[in-house]
């Protein structure tokens, strides 16, 4: 065995999905992962939405390490004075094939990689691919130190910090405007405490998003997911704003933990894990060229993920793009043609699927989400409004609309508000 049909760089969701599909089709597949083991370096917030994992591994929830199902969503606007939340519980989300899964990446990625190996792919961990082997226009394999590995096609699934994609000349330098940074702690608590505190039963779980104070009003947000016996708590913020305001996400997370609303939820817990990661969420404009002769780019490396403010989804996009890349390679193998003409089929599959269609639908979201009012002013207005509606101080009440006017007065014009709402309508 001295050459491979395909070499995959990175064993995250995108890499595992593509390797699995190709290996199952009988192709000779080699996967490189720089982590000491698969999952060692991988992090995310916490929930997978949609049917993609089920396409790869039918009824995976029966044997894969799933923490909990997402049966409850909470969105909260946080200020120093209080919070207003929307709390959505769904009974349907608790029925197979389910809508969302709370997963810890270290466990889940390791499980996925085992399935990939079982399907016949070779997984080489602890090895970082340094460079692509290029002959003329064609990518012919990869290089690690002095070792060379040859293949018909290379699939880049290297995640957000996509150095090889850049080396291949497919993307330009990132700007801090295009990147968000996320930090997360895993906080251990007993199963019983979690279920009592979050009103959960059995494998039910909750996904919580926070807007406002948790980022000191900077674009971004906070999140909390219930695992089986721990909570994932984190903050995501726009990198450019962090730099501009000299704020560290680590400090934001520390503050977030001391907010009374959050403090109550994590009380008595012990932090067992801490991690940080970049998120390339600038939407369509940021997507690099996704293919060239002998090369395909998938997942975060291709900036194929969606952030609408209300949701941040990347893993499902990663799996879908990994599968699309694998299908393309299968076709190229049949034709024995790995030139960009055949590989352009990849772009076509993505265009016909939710991957590029969602990104198209929400193409105005990234710009809209940079509007600082969303994170600073609006949470305050909402909380104050709620405070005014519910406060009884013994005085005669005012009509609701008058109250609204009072809250808005001097802080935002009706026209500004109207314009933001209209933009929101178009963007998300």
């Amino acid at each position: 065995m001295d050459r491979f049909d395909a070499i995959v760089v990175g064993a995250g969701p995108a890499g595992c999905a593509s390797a699995l599909v190709m290996a199952k089709a009988g192709l000779k597949v080699l996967v490189f992962e720089r982590g000491k083991y698969v999952g060692a370096k991988n992090m995310w917030g916490g929930a997978f939405f949609g049917p993609q994992i089920n396409y790869l591994f039918p009824n995976f929830w029966e044997e894969a390490p799933v923490e909990r199902l997402v049966t409850r969503h909470v969105i909260s606007f946080l200020t120093g004075k209080g919070s207003v939340s929307v709390d959505f519980k769904s009974t349907d989300f608790g029925i197979p094939p389910y809508n969302g899964f709370i997963l810890l990446r270290a466990k889940f990625d390791l499980w996925m990689a085992k399935q990939v190996e079982k399907a016949g792919a070779i997984l080489a961990t602890g090895l970082k691919v340094d460079d692509l082997l290029v002959e003329g226009e064609k990518v012919k394999g990869v290089k690690i130190g002095k070792e060379e590995f040859h293949s018909d096609v290379v699939i880049l699934a290297e995640g957000a910090n996509s150095l090889l994609t850049q080396k291949a000349g497919l993307r330009k330098e990132f700007s801090s405007e295009d990147i968000k940074q996320g930090v997360k702690e895993v906080i251990q608590l007993s199963r019983k405490t979690i279920e009592e505190r979050f009103n959960l039963k059995g494998n039910e779980g909750v996904a919580m998003e926070f807007v406002g104070l948790c980022t000191r009003g900077l674009p971004g947000g906070g999140f909390l997911y219930t695992n089986k016996e721990s909570l994932s708590l984190g903050v995501v913020a726009q990198l450019s704003d962090l730099i501009k305001n000299r704020v560290k996400t680590l400090d934001l997370l520390e503050e977030f933990k001391t907010h009374p609303e959050i403090g109550k939820l994590i009380e008595g817990g012990q932090t067992v894990e801490y991690s940080a990661h970049l998120i390339p969420v600038a939407g369509l404009g940021m997507i690099p060229r996704l293919y060239r002769d002998g090369l395909l780019v998938t997942g975060d490396a291709g900036a194929l993920l969606l952030g609408t403010g209300l949701i941040l989804e990347g893993a499902n996009f990663a799996i879908a793009s990994g599968m699309a890349a694998a299908e393309t390679v299968k076709m190229a193998k049949e034709r024995e043609d790995f030139s960009q003409r055949t590989l352009s089929h990849y772009q076509q599959i993505l265009k016909e699927s939710f991957v590029l269609q969602d990104l198209e639908t929400f193409k105005k979201a990234p710009k809209f989400l940079k509007n600082a009012r969303i994170y600073h002013l609006y949470p305050e207005l909402i909380v104050e409004m709620a405070e005014k509606i519910f406060r009884n101080n013994g005085e005669p009440r005012k009509g609701t609309f008058r109250m609204v006017r009072e809250v808005l007065k001097g802080r935002i014009s009706i026209w500004q508000l109207f314009s933001d709402v209209m933009k929101a309508r178009k963007a998300i």
């Binding site: 080699l30 810890l104 070779i122 080489a124 090895l127 690690i144 067992v272 894990e273």
Partner: protein, 267 residues
């Protein structure tokens, strides 16, 4: 040169302490999910010592471990580093064997392999740190042993060993076959290369049962165990900070002294 290296799978010693958990009732360590087992680092050094000899003199290296099929991962790791053959000895009758029984099982396995010039083990396993197995294997095989080697060289059909002592090292020369246990002073174990991993991935790793190595069942398992684990606990560390104040240095140091005396009496 036929070299056999005994390796053991252990919990990753680099595990963050917060992930280390024990089941107090069953006196067992609960392996954390999502963090794979690793080769005992001392054993990885034994593999390294074997590879160095092979690099210089040629020969064949066989790694051998006891455990279920999941130990395949560490065997493959050793193969990826450059070992030639791997072997797992696996049987439910081995469960809860102590270090003596483990030494016996390995010796039985090695007898079945038959040919060997040199056997290498780690000086101890980094999980329980008993450091017994190597000696027991040598005893069962009736061959000379040197423990805690920082250097192992084969010269003219004999093996030269530098053995670490508290204040330096001793040099030994032994007839082959012999058993050497390797210490951390040997240096660093090499990382597997890409092609090493690829070749190791498709290698057959035979699994031998208790029967195949002609196990005397009275010598293995819980019943044969010579020691018994009484209690398994995670030590708790407590840190306290106290400021001692006073008028002058004299008073402060007097207070400090009496504080320290107090603690000596109490603890």
């Amino acid at each position: 040169m036929e070299i056999i290296v005994c390796i053991k799978q252990i919990l990753d010693p680099d595990l963050p302490p917060a992930k280390f958990m024990v089941d107090k009732e069953r006196n067992k360590v609960i392996p954390p999910e999502g963090i794979p087992f690793v080769i005992n680092p001392y054993d990885a050094l034994a593999v390294e010592a074997a590879l160095k000899i092979k690099d210089e003199k040629g020969g064949k290296i066989t790694v051998i471990t006891i455990g279920d099929k999941s130990t395949e991962d560490i065997v493959r790791k050793a193969l990826a580093m450059g070992a030639d053959e791997g072997l797992i000895i696996s049987d439910t009758i081995f469960e809860e064997s102590d270090s003596f029984a483990v030494g016996y099982i390995l010796a039985q396995g090695i007898k079945k392999i038959g040919r060997y010039d040199l056997i290498l083990c780690g000086r101890q396993a980094a999980d329980w740190d008993n450091g017994v197995v190597g000696s027991v294997v040598a005893e069962y095989l009736g061959i000379p042993i040197v423990t805690r080697a920082k250097d192992v060289k084969v010269v003219n059909g004999r093996v030269n060993v530098e053995r670490v002592t508290t204040d330096g090292f001793e040099t030994f020369e032994l007839e082959l076959p012999a058993l050497i246990t390797v210490s951390s002073e040997l240096g660093q174990a090499r990382l597997p290369s890409g092609w090493g991993i690829i070749k190791a991935a498709s290698k057959e790793i035979p699994i031998w049962s208790g029967k195949e190595i002609e196990t005397d069942i009275s010598k293995v398992g819980k019943k044969a165990s010579r020691n018994q684990l009484m209690r398994l606990i995670i030590p708790s560390y407590e840190r306290r900070c106290e400021f001692i104040t006073g008028e002058d240095l004299h008073e402060i140091s007097a207070k400090l002294t009496s504080k320290l005396m107090e603690r000596r009496i109490h603890e």
